[in-house]
């Protein structure tokens, strides 16, 4: 048991559970952020809590998305084992989306690999920069081309956590569940929408594994249901490396 979480559970529930109403939620949020601002040691330990799989029940489910999101901006995400356990603990899409976000965010390249040009690292958008959409959403193929034919390719961005989850999907004996789980994971990566999430999805689609066909069908279905215009749908399909012509 994590002692800090045990003490914090009731506090964080009042801060994040909508049933208490926005006044109570905000009161507790004010108090927490005041403590975080004034006590750097507390802030550091809160941002680096060493979470184990059995800690998933230490906080109410509504508090985890807040905590994972907060931790993205203040420290490294929790361990892959913990994220795995939290993902499996609930079917709640808000929690699961937060878990995938946290795992993928961790793998966002903060710096180019050793010996490579800094230009190889995706450039973050600037707030208030009119180029934010173009820079943040520069298509994957364009970013690959930007690396240049004579240079080493960009380092693989495949998230170990995403890879591990999907490898497990391929091993499921129930093909129906495998398809559903592949579709769910694809939807989270598409929903997150950042270059690293899409790169992860592209690599899942590109590598040979037992769930590949299900994944491709799921991605096609998500793109169809989003009702994108044909140009955007085709461009996204190309970026993700979907086989042409609707074939798996």
């Amino acid at each position: 048991m994590n002692g800090l979480l045990a003490v914090a559970a009731a506090f964080l529930e009042r801060m994040t559970n909508p049933q208490y109403g926005p006044d109570v939620n905000e009161e507790y949020s004010f108090r927490l952020h005041e403590a975080l601002a004034e006590d750097s040691e507390f802030a550091r330990s809160f941002a680096t809590l060493d979470l184990a799989p059995d800690d998933v029940e230490s906080l109410p489910a509504c508090a985890w998305p807040w905590y994972l999101q907060w931790r993205e901006g203040h420290g490294t995400p929790p361990s892959a084992d913990f994220l795995d356990a939290l993902f499996d603990y609930t079917d709640d899409p808000a929690v699961r989306l937060s878990v995938v976000d946290s795992a993928v965010f961790q793998d966002y390249p903060g710096a180019p690999p050793a010996g490579r040009s800094p230009e190889d690292a995706p450039s973050p958008p600037e707030a208030g920069d009119p180029d934010v959409p173009t820079r943040a959403l520069r298509p994957l193929q364009e970013r690959r081309t930007a690396a240049g034919p004579d240079r080493e390719p960009l380092r693989p961005l495949q998230s170990p956590w995403v890879a591990s989850r999907t490898t497990r999907l391929a091993g499921l004996s129930d093909p129906g569940r495998s398809r559903a789980d592949a579709s769910e994971m694809a939807s989270y990566l598409l929903q997150l929408g950042d270059p690293v999430s899409l790169e992860n999805l592209r690599e899942l689609i590109g590598r040979p594994w037992a769930g590949r066909e299900s994944l491709i069908l799921a991605v096609r279905q998500h793109i169809r249901e989003a009702n994108l215009d044909p140009e955007a749908a085709a461009a996204l399909g190309r970026e993700l490396g979907l086989p042409p012509g609707g074939q798996a």
């Binding site: 926005p22 901006g73 808000a94 966002y108 958008p125 959409p133 939807s187 140009e231």
Partner: protein, 251 residues
């Protein structure tokens, strides 16, 4: 999360819709603009703002806020509009508002662009068809603002008391603080905002409010029948702010 891909034409329309901060929302009298805002909060936090600049304004980061994680304020030109949220009004300067990339959701066409964007998201159905809409709405609004680098959203009040708030004319603002992490897409900051300077407790309301109709209406609990303040209240508050005074508003 910055949200999934949308149609090319919609993407272009949204990019076009994010523009400069419209100065006219700061106008307190014809041609006179004050780059100041006011935020109302419960009395229990008010004392922290008694000394000028002692405490930043809190970034609201819990579910249920109209445009997600942001600092919610009203221009001083709407001096009582958000008084329904607390008895203490804290005034602050917004010196860099001229550079804020702004999404003006008062414009129905622009607000419609957000709805169209939402409808093309991969997990859109979760908002419409599950019990998780509050938290997910916050995530999507944060994603929209992050994707398009929106520093400020302007919108009409969505909670009101007709003696204090005009849902047709008042302006509320959701202002983003960005946290930059090396090599990563900026995330929306939490904690206390650095956008607002020289905060100071300047207004105290006698009235107290509570939610009714699930928070859509804010019911006044005292209702002692005092007449609304006469004259230009924004100017009175501005004068008090500059002279270290407090404006007291009767119920």
């Amino acid at each position: 999360m910055i949200g999934g891909r949308v149609s090319s034409s919609l993407e272009a329309e949204i990019v076009d819709a994010v523009g400069d901060f419209p100065d006219d929302v700061l106008e307190v009298t014809a041609g006179r603009k004050l780059a100041y805002v006011i935020k109302y909060m419960p009395a229990k936090f008010g004392a922290r703002y008694h000394a000028r600049g002692a405490q930043g304004l809190k970034i609201s980061d819990t579910p249920g806020f109209t445009w997600g994680r942001a600092t919610y304020v009203a221009p001083l030109a709407c001096p009582l509009s958000s008084g329904i949220f607390g008895r203490v009004g804290v005034v602050a300067r917004i010196p860099d508002h001229g550079s804020w990339k702004t999404f003006d959701a008062r414009d129905a066409r622009k607000a419609g662009l957000y709805v169209a964007w939402l409808q093309q998201q991969a997990r859109y159905r979760d908002i419409m068809l599950t019990a998780h809409s509050g938290y997910l709405s916050q995530l999507y609004r944060d994603a929209f603002r992050t994707r398009y680098g929106i520093d400020c959203v302007l919108f009409r009040p969505d909670q009101s008391n007709r003696h204090y708030t005009s849902v047709r004319e008042d302006v509320w603002m959701a202002v983003t603080d960005w946290k930059r992490l090396p090599g990563k897409i900026p995330v929306i900051a939490t904690g206390f905002s650095e956008r607002f300077l020289d905060t100071q407790l300047t207004v105290v309301l006698e009235e107290e409010f509570e939610d009714s109709m699930g928070g859509i209406h804010r019911t006044a609990l005292l209702n002692l029948g005092a007449k609304p303040p006469t004259g230009n209240l924004a100017d009175d508050i501005f004068y008090a702010y500059n002279s270290g005074g407090i404006v007291r508003i009767p119920s």
